[in-house]
Symmetry: C2
Subunit: 236 residues, 2 copies
């Protein structure tokens, strides 16, 4: 098992329970990478949950779970803030209280508003459902485009010159967004319509700590097609 | 307009857009009270939203909104953390990163898991629906009872000796929980079943900063009955 290294944290054991295609897990992997921390990654089978997972996250029984020195931290946004507060190195949140509040607001918007709407697109099975779900998601992307302008203030990322909490929150979904786009035959982060976000997405995906942990689009497509086949079979 | 006072914050203007019976607003009022801050409270009519509210929270168009020196902070848990970081005085979150993560986890649990489930009880109109909603809410209260034991470590509050984030998150709903209990003819925080939470609730409601801002149970009952009458009329 790799010990936690780098940053300002203790050298206590650091393990991440994950599932390879989960954007929520990717978030944590990106954050750990940005902090320069090494950790043991433990893949979980979500169709048959391990005793370790059930014991580590008895409330939600979900990944990601970060286990640091034997103590569990659950829920991706909680973990990201924990990583930021437990280790020095590249900050994920700004230092000014108002800017921190703005970052938390947008991260919550991604979780509570954007992703649930976009998920309707993922699970659409007919062209009509897809058109409706796509139409409903577009105003939320417009809001994120405005958020990007306000947060980045002309810089590369929501976080300014460096990737931060609000970059990682939606950015971890980019491979899935691309895969769903391909299936739907549309482009959610359309360059002409959302120039800020489209360029941001390219920059985000080019960051080393992101590239190293983003799931492979071809494999995600394969998994998605498998999910959809089961979903359609169960619904018919 | 009252200027912000006390604590370590600037003396910038502090205004809170609220709605008198909203537990989400009560949370912020409790936090501002605990910090010893004075502010202008501006009641909002949610059936006819003001230009001020729409301009201050264009994304969600909801209360609470805290306006500090002309800058808006929205979403109750984001505001609580802002208040904690912008002003000194009684801390709402602990200082240790792991304890902070634990507090954020439970506050999110209240928002994302407990309240949505309990809300089904609020909107139930038949005895069968009520029994079902009550039955579904009980395991979540069991989880909160365990959380209380773990967080309080034998002390008075989730936050230890003093009220903190995890006290304010569910505590702001206590008047509503009592009103719904009365209508349903049951007791969600039953003393025999949940001794920790039941005693905690009594202590929480006796705190000065809480007593001063909790809505009147009789008025909440009146509003709830009005909501229900409309709800039943619209459903029939």
């Amino acid at each position: 098992m790799a010990a936690a290294g780098g940053g300002g944290g203790e050298g206590a054991e650091l393990r991440l329970l994950g599932a390879w295609s989960s954007p929520w897990v990717t978030r944590v992997q990106v954050a750990l990478g940005l902090k320069g921390l090494s950790y043991e990654y433990v893949e979980q089978d979500l169709t048959s949950k391990s005793d370790l997972l059930l014991k580590s996250n008895p409330v939600h029984k979900k990944v990601p779970v970060l286990i640091h020195g034997g103590r569990e931290v659950c829920e991706s946004l909680v973990i990201l803030q924990y990583v930021d507060e437990a280790w020095a190195g590249t900050p994920l949140l700004p230092s000014d209280p108002y800017d921190r509040a703005t970052a938390r607001f947008w991260a919550a918007y991604v979780n509570d508003t954007f992703v649930p709407s976009w998920r309707a697109l993922i699970w659409s099975t007919t062209d009509e459902q897809r058109a409706e779900a796509f139409k409903n998601a577009v105003p939320l992307v417009e809001t994120l485009e405005r958020a990007f302008r306000e947060c980045s203030k002309g810089k590369a990322f929501f976080g300014g010159d460096d990737v931060g909490l609000v970059d990682v929150a939606p950015g971890s979904h980019l491979v899935w967004i691309g895969v769903v786009d391909e299936v739907v035959g549309a482009r959610l982060l359309d360059k002409a319509r959302f120039p800020g976000l489209a360029a941001w997405a390219e920059r985000f995906l080019a960051v080393d700590a992101v590239k190293e942990v983003m799931p492979d689009a071809g494999k995600v497509m394969e998994q998605y097609k498998g999910f959809m086949a089961k979903w359609i079979a169960s619904a018919s």
